[in-house]
């Protein structure tokens, strides 16, 4: 159990006003509800007494008036309570989702990379739903029920203490049974939620990998795997649902048990001819037995709902309490002013790093890049090129050594300020459902229409955008037929719109045709004249005019220099270079 309790406690604290208010409403509604039968009883008695004489509808108007007034009071408070709860529940859910969403941005990538999309989605939707819909609904009527319970117990004690003890003992025996069932239900609810999370993850992945599943004719295997997980859901939910379904019958069994306790104890008392119990007293207890079951019932449903909420709260809290990135991540500059841009000197000082501590990817890497230089990083796949960039971006922290920008260690710079100065195009193209305009401008502020058009043109997107019915405002989604190359162009345009002193292109043009790439390259060269740029690429056209080429292998920079210098060296670079002319 991790933090679910605290989360629920926090929610209750934050909504204490609403909870108290709805509790008051529930109590008032309960009072009106208790008075109502008395009014009707009085009406009945009046009728019975006056049956012999003249009787007209007019005579009962006062009774009707007070009954209807009570009914109105009851309805008002009951509805108010429900409306308060409905509204507050909505906001509790909303706050949880927003907190979860904000939190995702503060969790280090090493953790988020392990998250399954479907599982996280089910926490955002299903678990949040369970928490928000159960918590207030159970809390609001609690005091009203407690008051009912206490009042009944007082009345019962005043009628006959012996009988009261008998009823309490019977109820208690039943409660033990219930407690056992409730306790047994808990783990099954947890199993059910976990099984559902795993099923959702699998479904999500099968859908995002649909193309591969089809092409490999893997539908059967996927279905088998799905059915296995489905079976797990089935087994756990059968148990959970069955046990949850037992609560209601157990409660009525409980009230029947108190019946028996009442009559048997009463009979015993009578047969012993001792005590002060009257026939009327016993009749009253026969009425009390089911009445006391009602608030008990509420208490049990309260516990059961709370238990379910706790399972979901644990799942939500697991994300909310996940470790966060270093504190400086969201650190702004000291005075909160927008600092002038960095110039773009980058230095790696004896950097050692491994994604897993025992598996070092970069060994004691040192490199220095002057502002305005164009650096190309080449090397066999898996040599650590993207890792280099990941560290510069502080997606990961090095185990040893440090990275400096403009002579300032990036840890002091703060991630937000660092990122403000870097525009990056990642290897994995990422677009979201939204207009092309939104996908390009993204979070950059103050991009004029003129500049946007220029960027679109520079990136070779003008033709594509021109063919779209709504131009830049066309919404793209995963259903749109947009090619991988076009997506890459969009992400490049996004980076260009950001206009930062440092530019990183990680395999940014691998799916783009070379003519378009040439155009982009020219545009980038124009833009990056005074900027530092890092380019990871395999194509020669992209790298050979770099000011400096880093050749990486197995986590080390093994060669460094200009294209011609490296060719003359006859080392790894030259080998990589020449391999493109050799036949397979």
């Amino acid at each position: 159990m991790s933090g679910g309790r605290e989360l629920l406690r926090k929610i209750i604290r934050q909504n204490s006003k609403i909870i108290v208010l709805s509790m008051v409403c529930a109590v008032l509604a309960a009072i009106a509800q208790a008075l109502l039968p008395m009014q009707i009883q009085r009406l009945g008695d009046y009728l019975q007494q006056n049956m012999g004489g003249d009787l007209g509808l007019g005579d009962i108007v006062p009774f009707l008036r007070s009954a209807i007034a009570l009914l109105a009071v009851f309805a008002f408070f009951f509805i108010t309570q429900n409306l308060l709860v409905a509204k507050a529940s909505g906001y509790i859910g909303s706050n949880l989702r927003v907190d979860l969403n904000d939190k995702l941005n503060r969790i280090p990538l090493s953790v988020t990379d392990k998250y399954m999309v479907g599982d996280i989605q089910s926490r955002f939707v299903k678990d949040v739903d369970t928490i928000s819909s159960s918590i207030l609904n159970t809390f609001a009527p609690a005091p009203a029920n407690l008051i009912k319970l206490v009042l009944l117990l007082i009345v019962m004690f005043m009628t006959d203490p012996f009988m009261t003890i008998a009823v309490i003992v019977a109820e208690f025996a039943g409660l033990v049974l219930l407690a056992v069932v409730v306790q047994k239900t808990g783990p099954h609810i947890k199993d059910q939620m976990e099984a559902l999370g795993s099923l959702t993850s699998f479904t999500e992945e099968s859908i995002s990998g649909h193309m591969v599943v089809k092409a490999f004719h893997c539908e059967e295997d996927m279905k088998k795997e799905f059915d296995q997980r489905n079976e797990r859901v089935s087994t756990s939910s059968k148990k959970a649902q069955f046990l949850q379904g037992l609560l209601q019958p157990l409660l009525s069994f409980n009230s029947n048990l108190s019946y028996v306790a009442v009559v048997v104890t009463a009979a015993a008392l009578f047969s012993m001819r001792s005590g002060s119990l009257t026939i009327g007293g016993m009749a009253a207890f026969i009425l009390y037995a089911p009445m006391i079951a009602e608030p008990m019932n509420a208490v049990i449903s309260f516990v059961s709902a709370l238990q379910q909420a706790l399972v979901s709260a644990d799942r939500v809290a697991e994300v909310l309490n996940a470790p966060e990135m270093n504190e400086d991540v969201h650190k702004k500059t000291d005075d909160g002013q927008k600092v002038e841009k960095l110039s773009g000197d980058v230095e790696f000082e004896h950097v050692t790093f491994g994604y897993e501590p025992e598996q070092i990817v970069l060994h004691d890497l040192s490199a220095k890049v002057k502002a305005g230089q164009k650096v190309a990083i080449v090397g066999p796949t898996g040599a650590g090129k993207s890792t280099f960039v990941n560290l510069l971006m502080r997606f990961y922290e090095p185990q040893n050594g440090r990275i400096l920008v403009d002579g300032i260690p990036v840890t002091e710079l703060g991630q937000e300020r660092l990122h403000d100065n870097i525009a990056m195009v990642l290897q994995d193209t990422w677009t979201f459902e939204g207009s092309i305009r939104d996908n390009i401008v993204y979070s950059t502020e103050g991009v004029t229409e003129e500049r946007l058009n220029k960027i679109v043109e520079d990136c070779g997107l003008s033709y594509y955008v021109g063919t779209l019915p709504e131009g830049l405002d066309t919404v793209i989604s995963e259903r749109s037929d947009i090619s991988a190359g076009q997506k890459q162009l969009l992400t490049i345009a996004r980076a260009l719109a950001k206009d930062s002193p440092i530019l990183i292109l990680d395999e940014a043009t691998s799916n783009v045709d070379t003519r378009s790439e040439l155009l982009i390259q020219r545009a980038i060269d124009r833009l990056t004249r005074d900027r530092t740029s890092f380019v990871i690429a395999h194509r020669l056209s992209t790298i050979q005019n770099a000011d400096c080429i880093f050749v990486m292998k197995d986590g080390d920079v093994v060669e460094m220099g200009k294209h011609e210098e490296l060719l003359e060296k006859n080392g790894l670079y030259s080998e990589l270079y020449h391999s493109q002319f050799e036949p397979a």
Binding site: I79, A86, P249, Q486, E582
Partner: protein, 614 residues
């Protein structure tokens, strides 16, 4: 609701009947208990009270209570069993149907909604069917019991019940109509939330890199705001239900008394006491009936959600599949491995065609390549071969048989497809390589290793501490881009297919790995036909035939050398790759000369190209 009945087997209907009987007995037992308590009350009033008599009655009550509990346990056990199996069955079928969709049909649905349809919506249906029937039976049975007893009273009292029922009905309808409409919006926005969460996790690096926290938050908060608003509207509408119906019950009692007063006042004095007794009895039955309505309401409250959920599930189950198994194909030994004849393709609903008049052939064992500008339709063309999409017109043949004649499994098992985006699954490395239907037997580790060696993946896999058992993280996050591509290539190799399809699958590989890979393929998959889409001339220059595409049409075909002579588009592509941008670091002539130097290579079948051209 017929969604559910389809899934109920004969056995289930019998079991359902048994559980309904259980509920009926439960109600009977429960109603019997007060009779015995009343009996005890009478016994106690007797002069010579026998304790054993009381105990006897007490035991009967206890038995009835146990009986009622037992009935509830049995009924509950059966119904949860049926309900869960029902949900499991529907879920399994929905998933199977999803998997049977080709990309064409899947594109009719929002993919984030597919997940919800397969999970959350089915749970709503399950919840309803686990509790619904029992609530219904309980309510109906109570209703019938009460109605029978009410039958022989003054008709005027029935009016009050009628009015109250009408009021309850109107209340229910208003609430449901309000809620159902908004519930639809709730579902839609939940889908959007799901999508945005998926996008957020998938693009988390971009969010970080662009400091787009505010932007991302704004977009999410807008959706959340809408979802919350709709949620609150639905909650509010539903929250009127319980107070409304309770008020109706009390109102009914008051009305019965008012009507009673009216009836009694008009009757003879002599008849009045019996009318009064009728009234008291009637009001207790009326309360019973309304109690049944409350039970019904708890079931009915779930209905708007269940209706929408069922609809969304049915939409999938009823969606026609366009791409289905063919009758079976007769393979011709001497026919080309792949041939396209005047193939056109346009996405459904799109105005213009993506592919126009595509004709080409790839003979068995040949390597055929496609090159062309971004968005020219190369990937789309490849998607047509395994029938991921259906060509709009024209004919595609594999081994001389129309691809529409093949059983889909037969067709796709001949093909090793390597997609442009390296899609990996959350499984072990071995599980990712040994993926797909392979004629009924799983590959052994040796075959997996062999495939990984050909795919140039073995080395980096072995560097991982757990080797082939390494767990692949979501989207392959623990592998570099090039490594992911090599894993997906190994996956295709592992099937030992007749035809390989590489959709720009070498883009993240360095030239050396690219070359080694092609060399290994040549050695280990000698007879296979290779269809390659690539951007790099180096990847395709030794292909038997290269097709140059531009805006959905083939504008040039031939070997590298032929195209260098006569295809301007191709020449431009080649130039752009070997000429530096801005600063020319190698003189043009030298690069082009070295490009042509490859012509002398012994294993280049430059002649084979012409035979293939029709």
């Amino acid at each position: 609701m017929n969604l559910v009945f389809k899934y109920l087997k004969k056995k289930d209907i019998l079991l359902l009947a048994i559980s309904c009987l259980c509920v009926i007995f439960q109600v009977i037992f429960e109603l019997k208990i007060p009779e015995f308590t009343a009996g005890i009350a009478l016994l106690v009033q007797k002069e010579n009270l026998m304790f054993s008599d009381v105990l006897h009655n007490g035991m009967i009550i206890l038995l009835l209570a146990f009986g009622s509990l037992a009935m509830a346990v049995v009924g509950g056990y059966i119904i949860t069993g049926i309900g869960t199996d029902l949900a499991t069955g529907i879920r399994s079928d929905v998933f199977a149907k999803l998997m049977s969709f080709s990309l064409q049909e899947a594109s009719d649905f929002d993919s984030s909604s597919l997940v919800t349809r397969c999970t959350r919506n089915i749970e709503s249906v399950l919840m309803f069917w686990t509790f619904g029937p029992l609530l219904l039976v309980r309510a109906l049975f109570t209703f019938v019991l009460a109605a029978v007893k009410m039958g022989n009273t003054d008709i005027r009292w029935i009016y009050t019940v009628g009015t109250a029922s009408l009021f309850a009905l109107i209340l229910l309808s208003v609430v449901f109509l309000t809620a159902t409409g908004k519930m639809m919006d709730v579902q839609t926005y939940m889908d959007v939330i799901n999508r945005q969460v998926g996008e957020h996790i998938g693009g988390i690096r971009v969010v970080h890199a662009f400091n787009a926290y505010g932007f991302q938050k704004k977009a999410f908060d807008v959706t959340d705001r809408k979802l919350t608003d709709f949620n609150i509207t639905v909650n509010k509408a539903v929250s009127i239900l319980a107070p409304g119906l309770t008020v109706t019950i009390y109102g009914l009692t008051i009305a019965v008394f008012a009507m009673g007063t009216h009836i009694i006042s008009q009757a003879d004095i002599a008849q009045r006491p019996s009318l009064y007794a009728d009234m008291i009895e009637f009001s207790s039955y009326a309360t019973l009936i309304m109690g049944a309505v409350v039970f019904l309401m708890r079931g009915l409250g779930m209905i708007p959600d269940v209706l929408i959920s069922s609809k969304r599930i049915k939409e999938i189950l009823d969606h026609p599949t366009v791409i289905n198994d063919g009758p079976g194909a007769t393979v011709k030994a001497d026919a080309p491995a792949v041939s396209f004849e005047h193939v056109y393709f346009g996405y459904p609903g799109a105005a213009s065609n993506v592919l126009e008049d595509i004709s080409f052939r790839a003979l068995k064992g040949e390597t055929v390549a496609f090159i062309g500008n971004t968005g020219c339709g190369k990937s789309t063309l490849l998607n047509l071969i395994p029938r991921l999409y259906e060509a709009t017109s024209g004919k595609i043949e594999i081994n001389g048989a129309d691809i529409r004649d093949y059983a889909l499994g037969d067709l796709r098992n001949r093909i090793g497809y390597v997609p442009q985006k390296a899609m990996l699954f959350s499984d072990t490395v071995a599980g990712n390589i040994d993926f797909g239907d392979d004629g009924g037997f799983a590959r052994g580790l040796n075959e997996i290793k062999k495939a990984a060696m050909t795919g140039q993946a073995h080395e980096f896999i072995m560097q991982k501490p757990e080797g082939y058992d390494t767990q692949v993280q979501r989207g392959g996050a623990n592998f570099s881009g090039g490594q992911r591509q090599r894993l997906t290539i190994s996956r295709a190799v592992c099937r030992d297919p007749e035809i390989y399809i590489f959709d720009d699958s070498f883009s993240a590989l360095d030239f050396k790995t690219d070359r080694q890979l092609r060399k290994a393929l040549k050695e280990n998959a000698a007879g296979a036909t290779l269809i390659i889409v690539a951007q790099r001339i180096a990847t395709i220059r030794y292909a038997d035939r290269i097709y140059v595409m531009d805006n959905g049409k083939i504008v040039g075909e031939g070997t590298h050398d032929e195209l260098m002579e006569n295809c301007t588009v191709y020449q431009e592509i080649a130039h752009s790759q070997f000429v530096g941008t801005g600063k020319v670091t190698s003189p043009d002539g030298e690069v082009l000369k070295s490009l042509k130097a490859g012509t002398g290579s012994p294993d280049l079948k430059s002649g084979a190209g012409k035979e293939g051209v029709k």
